[in-house]
Symmetry: C2
Subunit: 388 residues, 2 copies
């Protein structure tokens, strides 16, 4: 039986690969809706090629423009558009691959309508993990992670083993500054920070990989997804990115998921789950060709973002929400060449120190904390502004 | 609820560790029977310490001697003793850790009586895999492998994934001669061949590790256990012995089981399956302490036994039975310093070339082939005898 899928964030890196998956496995999937942000040209091509039943874009103006070209197509916009597509009962699964906290609303809409979620949006669980996982449990909805690390962990935990987890081991390549000095990082250009050695991803997540905030967000995400204490989640730097993460069980046995560094596999797995399929990019890993795997501890002095993420996770309440909001603004300002790469953790730390936390169990508290974090970071930019 | 366990081969390396497991997890296990070979002194100590309900030894003389010391204990001997202990309906699980083809009979006795088998005896599946797996399927009995490689694969295959296997990857340390020349192997002493770099095991299996026949037998065993074609079973040399084996799925995802090189974990897993428990030797693997894992192709010129095992497996019928029988005799003669290490594959190859195969689907054909192999090898020893 075919699965009906909607893809939110269809013009991004994950969304495009997801469309490749459902095109490749066209006997297994029907496309229902597509949602994109501001990249209307790319969305137009996708509409022509993939024939969605419904689409949504970021703003009304773009929606009206699109309507002229596709008069018979149902076209929505904004937050409501995302929610209507993700929450439509025709879906078997909704892939949430929009970036930022915008992913939170359609995720909740899907869960509320008993639709399984393939979750490629980190911020949803970082900001609102408690709320989202509680709701998913109530509604008996699967949240299947798309991030390669969480997909790895998800694949490592069989039903019979789920009560015997001791520890999660999240691996990371270490990013472009693993072998560089702190001074190199202080002087890093945007181009240098975007030159990820192993993974081709969007710019926000690539900068997060350069600061290791990405691993920090993943730790918080893993905490919520798998219900594991922060003290039992370890980050290991593994430059070859072949072991995508692992789980240690109480008996000392470790199950790891491995593969070539390609997002195609976790995207496809999330969509075909619980099945596996041979796909176009199911490239075989050859351990003898890889020949060598290395592992090292992360350097928390060089990468304070990882430490800050653990701290905010352990502190709980709205701290992770604020961490994420502060970081989003700071990364954007770095990409706009307004601040230094190494000032991202400074901005995050100042914000966390000033934040008055609230319980993170309702959406209003989360949205307020998110707004507080963004405003705080924006007000702080002047202090760190690069003199040009 | 406690599981009732019998341990056949209790004075061997696996048997002793299994007794440690059930002593450590004494709230989970009852001991029913113990069976040993000729090491009566060690068995006496085990009887006093572990209080089995029934024991068996190799020959009648030893049984009578033991009876004097333990007049109230039921004491059996020989093949029938093994069968009666393994097949007793009181068992929930029988650990078959006797060495050689002697393991075949109690394995069949256990299966016939619907008792799950923890199988540490390679020869059973190598010689009679078709027969044993068919019977296990009929009787709905689990054959849970104890070998670290097969335990790894067993742990990597969740119920939902079992139909999507593409390939098995069996790892091996490469043994003591991995970095030595063929000439070193030709002149190898017994002590050199027994100096395994990673695993502490019995002498037969340690010699098999030195020739890589061990990997070959494991390939055949894996073929039967997991119902996978020989062409889809790869051997990878991995000197650190941290990844104990892995499974590649059709989507390109690879699941691997890792741990410190200790037989304690797979023995315990086989006994506690489908649960996992924290045990005395559930030592934690630290990837950052291990720091590096290497992989290379096996050198089939230096280790022809591996090639011979694949050939015999692919040829099927009674070829693997004969391979195993020829190898057992040749290893024994090497341990007795009668032949060179590098003549083991020569003897195996000559035997395989001379063998007239039979279908391996009844016990008589298997026993006849096993006997033919042993006799052939014994008759061949003179040709390879080391001149002293």
């Amino acid at each position: 039986m075919r699965k009906t899928v909607s893809i939110l964030g269809s013009t991004g890196s994950i969304g495009k690969q997801a469309l490749n998956v459902i095109t490749d496995l066209s006997d297994k999937f029907n496309l229902f809706g597509l949602a994109a942000g501001a990249n209307i040209e790319a969305l137009k091509e996708q509409i022509i090629k993939h024939k969605p039943k419904i689409v949504s874009v970021q703003d009304e103006k773009a929606a009206l423009e699109l309507k002229k070209e596709f008069p018979k197509l149902e076209i929505l916009f904004g937050r409501e558009g995302l929610e209507q597509i993700a929450g439509n009962k025709q879906n078997d699964i909704a892939l949430i691959a929009v970036s930022g906290t915008a992913g939170l609303y359609p995720t909740i809409a899907a869960i509320n309508n008993n639709i399984n979620v393939a979750l490629a949006n980190k911020e949803t669980l970082v900001s609102a993990g408690s709320l989202v996982m509680k709701l998913a449990k109530e509604k008996k909805v699967n949240i299947i992670p798309v991030d390669s690390e969480h997909s790895a962990i998800y694949q490592c935990i069989s039903n019979k083993d789920k009560d015997f987890i001791k520890k999660l081991i999240i691996t990371g390549s270490g990013g472009p500054f693993r072998t560089r000095t702190l001074k190199d990082m202080q002087n890093a250009t945007v181009a240098q920070a975007l030159a990820h050695p192993k993974w081709s991803m969007g710019s926000k997540i690539t900068i997060d990989s350069a600061t290791l905030m990405n691993k920090g967000l993943e730790v918080i995400e893993a905490h919520w997804l798998f219900n594991i204490d922060y003290k039992d989640i370890n980050v290991v730097i593994h430059p070859q990115s072949i072991i995508h993460s692992a789980v240690e069980f109480v008996d000392g046995s470790v199950i790891a998921q491995m593969g070539i560094p390609s997002m195609h596999i976790p995207i496809q797995y999330a969509l075909t789950y619980p099945q596996r399929c041979k796909g176009i990019e199911s490239e075989t890993l050859s351990l003898t060709q890889v020949s060598r795997l290395d592992f090292e501890e992360p350097d928390l002095n060089k990468f304070p973002c990882l430490k800050l993420a653990y701290q905010s996770g352990k502190s709980g309440q709205t701290y992770p929400t604020v961490l994420n909001a502060l970081n989003e603004v700071a990364v954007e300002e770095f990409l706009n060449t307004q601040i230094k790469l190494t000032d991202i953790p400074n901005i995050v730390e100042e914000g966390l120190n000033k934040h008055n936390p609230m319980p993170a169990n309702d959406l209003n508290a989360i949205i307020a904390a998110d707004k507080w974090g963004r405003d705080f970071a924006k007000n702080l930019i002047n202090k760190y502004l690069i003199k040009k």
